[in-house]
Symmetry: C2
Amino acid sequence: MIIEHESLKDTANVLKLLGDKTRLSMVSMLAEQECCVCEFVEIFEMSQPSISQHLRKMRDLGIVREQRKGQWVVYSLNTLSEYYLLIRELLKHVPSQQEKFDWLEKKGLRITCY
Amino acid sequence: MIIEHESLKDTANVLKLLGDKTRLSMVSMLAEQECCVCEFVEIFEMSQPSISQHLRKMRDLGIVREQRKGQWVVYSLNTLSEYYLLIRELLKHVPSQQEKFDWLEKKGLRITCY
DNA sequence: TTCTTATATAAGTAAATAATAATATAGTTA
DNA sequence: TAACTATATTATTATTTACTTATATAAGAA
């Protein structure tokens, strides 16, 4: 398979963005399931603006996409991103985040209406 | 193939380190050929201490290794690093740095004694 | 030994980043 | 409509990072 190279600068930008354990965990979660902002807030025990800003950075690079569903904004991995393949490969080196979803379920904090 | 997962934190640290275009370019070069410090200084038009500090960070994480050869210190990719596979995969998303070696040759700055 | 070249380290500074607090916006419910 | 919940944005601050200058170390040459 021939991979069309991203530029060095572009790849560095993606790595810098994912070189943060909160954001890396977020994309890893999104690779498993969609997730809304308030769920991230609970999971990471971090202020809502902080979560929102992490998501914005990834949105700005086109890595994730947002979709409003009623009162919630649901985020998902943007499979059409030029960096999608790179990200999928990176995530092979990150353990499953399933336990975070399990924790949300257990606490009754999972938004299940979508 | 089963990949033994690095921890999320470890992977994030590697990505943060390589999320800098100078360091990403350095490892990409080292994946092609060994290189000494003074060559990096010429290539990146950056002060020697700055180059040295970039190398140190990568050395501290075990990504690269150093080997003194006479008056020079030659760096290479550490193929025994637990992150070697990850790094190889990342580098598929970075264009070849061959032209940098070509430029060194042309300028007569290539250290060829090793 | 002294001089030169190559590299590393330490200290200081400027820029970038991540977090918080405060505020604004948008949808939902009463 | 007002009140409430979810999310985004802005401004500020603290921390981190990358670079520079100055200095130290180490090897080779004179």
